[in-house]
Symmetry: C2
């Protein structure tokens, strides 16, 4: 048997099958597991690693679905040539025929997996040619500005383009001097924690974005959960919490999807002015709004310079650039430059220079227009098929914007729903980690991200979910 | 007069002329200050901004030297076309003739500036073609792995290449599972602060690298300074400090340049094993060693798995990739995966995929061989010219490796030395911020980085320094 030594962590929240899948994939990509090698049988590997057969089976199923391995009749699972994989293009590979040998116990569903993972974006429509052109031009520039550490705050030209974009798209008036780049939103939150004066309390929407909450907690901040009402974060309850800094997602509450109405925005700003507090506004996917008039960013209404505005290119453009930015109130911008002056910029200047060109040439805005239409069509299809097939057996939460929605599958539990979906080759998620106490997440909630799935796949996925969840009813 | 509103911070440690220079440069790069616009005279701008004429003059001098502006006889300073700048290539532009109008009071030296900044790398010899090829191949791959968020720990293939390199070059035996990537060393230190258990005390060499010390302090850690002896960090004094985590640079002490002998390494490891402590070994430029036998990394001797090894591509390759990595002891690697599991990777997967190809193709190792020779020649020239021209008037500190050295210009003070150098168009630095209490840095110390300067420029720079510092003696 090939030597496999995955470092499986049973304490982790990452499921074991996921850990095993990542390990095997990594070994193949690294060339440690080689083309045409035979994988151990499910039984062998489950005994060897002391995990359930189900764990191994699910990891194998995912590898099959993504085309890393293939099944040969009556003989087992084999590793495919990696070059071949690369030629076949991106994401989950279609056209892989799964075997059905008894010894392998490969899933009833011989279909490729459909993954409703939040955060996936559409690559088939990505403007590879233009982006490549911009990257090549940046590489050819070959200056210290592009090949060295770069400006600590971020390339001035790119910051100017961002300022221009924010004014046009979000009504935010700011100078490039107030804009600071960072390699992703979590890195930026870490910088903010180092910048912002104590006290230690940070108020957050409950439920709220776990990826950010974790960073606050890892910096020793105490999270004050503020319940939502129909208008989003309740400013009344915020006052009771006693924090003077609050993190909010007013344009599209994560994960519940509420768009904060203007009256509540005014209340929130008043709170900040009265309490000399700061509002951290995470405007992560405001580009994607499908119903009603666009509401400008909270920052656009902020006459008292108390809103810290966070933006990212991960949703509107590409996660792979790892490029987020913030607009700091002038006082904090000054503090940043003195307190964090020894910090190098974390975003590669190569990426920055390419992004600058991409925006300047107008590619970025035309890409956003295209994507908004594309995601809107997907969103519409998703809602329609859910309505057709699930009817009154589910509630849909947060359906006006973004790249995900929540389903309330009445009287069912997510563990069971996720497992049943898996049997049909569909991967769905629970949003529970976004609750400060995950036990308080309604067990019937399921999160569906649709950014990376075509309309056809969305339809197919919901049909399979209908079969998985409701066929025996 | 064109509208100029720089946000000058008089409290900052960044000199005012530097702030003004950066601001003007940014405005030009952003196209806010346009080609052929006339800059205000030195007197006008100094009155307008309430800064000294010297500040404005120095900022203008730097802009002239870098070719951002040009002087027209009897008429003033004008902004140059940016396109033209880009065509002229990297770094400080040569061939710019500086004017000598009385009204402008432009420096006596009409020569281009020579900047002995630490951290600059040689771009003229950078393998642009190969790197571009690798980047383009990565872009053309167009998979979720490259265009999405990427593996949280870093691309498996690249981690395998790094593991292989570390074994060959540094004697470090580790699995790719123990390697974690991060967008620069400071971002990585922040991750370490979030990962490592308290207590809060971190011991550091005194003097020691300020860029890292600041991050520790901004995460609420208390710095325990441990004085150096001729063997580097004194393990005896480390014991007295009571910390159980220490940050060290054994292969090339920053900024003093001591290479820790093997006996002291053994003592340091014993300390970690006896006190159940962790050693953070920053091996930032171990590739560049010019005298004596290479000493393997401390991590290579670490039988008790107590060394956290930090490496970076900023010195050996290119700061612009913003790519550092650490090798974690197995226990910590496990903790990282569970405690920091929601963190996205901060290094762009595009850059990772290109770097993977660059290493796999062997370009990286041949680049290092080339650079080592190149830097060695520069280092030799620098030492020889210093010896010739300065003789016994200076002491040279830390001359066995790396991309910088320290000068002790006996009985002089760095403020004066820096100013005098400036008058000759040479930019030199004080290393004082690397002392926990900067007042304790001997005032006669000057830091010379030579990574970005050709042998010719090094020679020219030292000749000018000799004129600046010793001509009237």
């Amino acid at each position: 048997m090939i030597s496999l030594t995955p470092d499986l962590d049973r304490q982790s929240d990452v499921p074991l099958y996921q850990q095993l899948f990542s390990y095997l994939k990594g070994q193949m990509e690294a060339g440690i597991l080689k083309e045409n090698e035979r994988l151990p049988s499910i039984r062998q590997l489950s005994v060897y690693l002391s995990v359930s057969k189900n764990t191994v089976e699910t990891a194998y199923q995912q590898l099959l679905a993504e085309g890393y391995i293939q099944s040969k009749l009556r003989s087992g699972l084999y590793i495919m040539a990696l070059e071949k994989l690369e030629l076949e293009g991106s994401g989950a590979k279609t056209g892989t025929t799964l075997g059905s040998e008894k010894t392998q116990q490969i899933p009833k569903s011989s279909l490729p997996a459909i993954n409703f993972e939040y955060g996936d974006v559409e690559l088939a429509h990505f403007p590879v040619r233009q982006w490549k052109k911009c990257m090549v031009e940046a590489l050819e520039e070959c200056t210290v500005e592009v090949y060295g550490y770069g400006d600590r705050q971020g390339q001035a030209g790119l910051r100017t383009e961002i300022a221009r974009y924010l004014y046009q798209a979000r009504g935010v008036v700011c100078s490039p001097d107030q804009i600071f780049l960072s390699a992703g939103t979590q890195t930026m939150i870490s910088m903010l924690c180092q910048l912002l004066p104590l006290p230690k309390k940070i108020a957050m929407e409950e439920p709220g974005y776990n990826g950010v909450r974790t960073v606050f907690r890892n910096h020793g901040r105490e999270i004050i959960p503020v319940p939502l009402d129909s208008d989003g974060l309740s400013v009344e309850l915020l006052k009771q919490g006693g924090a003077n800094t609050v993190y909010v997602t007013p344009s599209h509450q994560f994960p519940v999807g509420i768009i904060m109405p203007v009256q509540n925005r005014v209340r929130l700003l008043q709170w900040a002015y009265e309490h000399n507090g700061y509002i951290i506004e995470d405007d992560f996917d405001s580009e994607l709004r499908y119903q009603g008039q666009p509401i400008p960013a909270l920052k656009a209404m902020d006459t008292g310079d108390k809103v810290i505005y966070l933006g990212t290119f991960s949703k509107s453009f590409l996660p792979g650039v790892r490029l987020s930015y913030m607009v700091l109130p002038e006082l904090l911008a000054k503090d940043y430059r003195s307190k964090l002056q020894t910090y190098s910029q974390s975003v590669s200047p190569l990426i920055q220079a390419a992004m600058y060109r991409f925006m300047k040439e107008g590619y970025f805005e035309s890409h956003i227009r295209k994507m908004r239409k594309l995601y809107q069509a997907r969103h519409k299809t998703l809602l329609r098929v859910i309505q057709e097939l699930f009817g009154s057996r589910v509630g849909v939460i947060g359906q006006k914007s973004g790249m995900h929605l929540l389903l309330d599958v009445y009287n069912r539990s997510s563990d069971e729903l996720i497992e049943q979906a898996y049997q049909q080759g569909v991967i769905v998620y629970t949003p529970r980690l976004n609750w400060l106490n995950p036990e308080e997440c309604p067990p019937s909630y399921i999160m569906l991200g649709f950014g990376g799935l075509s309309e056809e796949k969305i339809r197919d996925g919901i049909i399979r979910l209908s079969k998985a969840w409701f066929s025996e009813m």
